[in-house]
């Protein structure tokens, strides 16, 4: 069964991952472009700062969401090996956020 369904499943995951990446790129680009235009015109301000930081957060979150979506997809397929692997990647990404906070406190 998996020999027949394998390529179909892989194609489905590729489509989902593709849409996540497209949406993330679009949202972050809109925020960054808006923030950049405002900073060039007005020279900064609260809204500018918010847009720029929102754009960066969305940019950083896009690969994370892509990994979450992959984990969910592998779990729903009962592909436990790859569900575990993608979950470990998720833990590693969480650890980098924690490391940033720890470093901030120390310095």
């Amino acid at each position: 069964m998996s020999a027949v369904r394998g390529p179909e499943r892989a194609a489905a995951l590729e489509r989902i991952v593709g849409s996540v990446l497209r949406a993330g790129v679009f949202a972050s680009s809109v925020c960054l472009a808006g923030g950049l235009a405002m900073s060039l015109v007005t020279g900064g301000g609260a809204v500018t700062g918010f847009l720029l930081n929102a754009g960066i957060v969305v940019l950083l979150a896009t690969p994370v969401v892509r990994v979450i979506v992959s984990t969910v997809q592998y779990v729903s397929e009962r592909d436990w090996a790859f569900a575990t692997l993608t979950f470990i990647v998720l833990l590693e990404l969480a650890a980098s956020a924690i490391a940033a906070l720890v470093l901030n406190r120390r310095m």
Binding site: A11, R15, S29, L32, I56, R66, A97
Partner: protein, 277 residues
């Protein structure tokens, strides 16, 4: 932290466009060109240069992979397996970077660039392709349609442990140096693991989003990322990689490798001169 001016913002946008198009042609994130430009030409601290570069690497990865998804060029299973190693390396590198002197990072950058350029030049003729479309690709292998030859390319993954080690090192170097790490993974995957150059480049480009996110999160959380300059660089790189992708399919793999090696030698020489002072 560099002082943000309108001129500097526009210079960075232009640099991003150039790096993005070159990066897309070579199957890299473009960071390998941006970091030396920011650090050596504009005089940013290495950490600020690396931080901005990593955000552009993420943007390139997402843009390029979104465009390629559905063409079977990205080997998602292999990519997700290797991401475990690359994210671990990246996490370690991002933390280490906070405690290492700039001159050490510059020399490391030059060293890495030379090694990879030499590998690329020594492997110009390798193709690693099974042209029989019925051949079994195994669990981690793949197949895709190649426009150049018009045939279906099937490949198996060889020496998986080597790919895992290369991905860990690439992730580590990525966070330390602000590059995607494609310059390490692509040659290893192509030369020793049996993966055709285009599939290796597409899979690497897919993975570096995760690699760079682990590193960039540390720089961003630590206040080393200037958002305005990052925005200019990211938008420039996206414009450039959009353009580069249109030409990427037409350029031959051999010339891509030669161009890549030449660029790396120049960057390495500059980094050694600066880091040795």
């Amino acid at each position: 932290m560099p002082v943000v001016t309108a001129t500097l913002t526009l210079i960075i946008f232009a640099a991003g466009t150039a790096a993005g198009s070159l990066g897309a042609l070579l199957g890299l994130g473009g960071g390998v060109f941006l970091v030396p430009f920011f650090n050596l030409v504009l005089g940013f601290p290495f950490s600020a240069a690396a931080a901005i570069s990593l955000t552009t690497v993420i943007a390139t990865s997402s843009t390029v992979s979104a465009g390629r998804a559905g063409k079977q060029l990205i080997n998602m299973k292999l990519g997700m397996l290797l991401e475990v190693a690359t994210a671990a390396g990246s996490l370690l590198g991002g933390v280490t970077a906070q405690f290492v002197a700039q001159s050490v990072l510059q020399k490391l950058f030059g060293f890495v660039a030379v090694i990879v350029a030499l590998i690329m030049l020594s492997r110009l003729r390798r193709r690693n392709v099974i042209l029989d479309p019925a051949a079994d690709a195994g669990v981690l292998g793949g197949r895709f349609h190649e426009d150049e030859s018009g045939g279906t390319v099937t490949y198996r993954v060889k020496r998986l442990p080597l790919a895992v080690v290369a991905s860990f090192v690439a992730g580590n170097v990525s966070s330390l140096l602000g590059i995607g790490g494609g310059i390490i993974k692509v040659p290893v995957l192509n030369a020793w693991c049996g993966i055709p150059l285009r599939a290796a480049a597409a899979t690497s480009a897919f993975m570096i989003g995760v690699t760079a996110t682990a590193g960039a999160t540390i720089y961003y959380g630590h206040g080393q990322l200037e958002p305005t300059l990052a925005a200019a660089a990211v938008l420039g790189v996206q414009l450039g990689s959009w353009g580069g992708m249109r030409f990427g399919a037409a350029a031959s793999a051999k010339w891509l490798k030669i161009l890549m090696a030449a660029a790396l030698f120049i960057v390495a020489a500059m980094m050694f001169m600066r880091g040795g002072r």
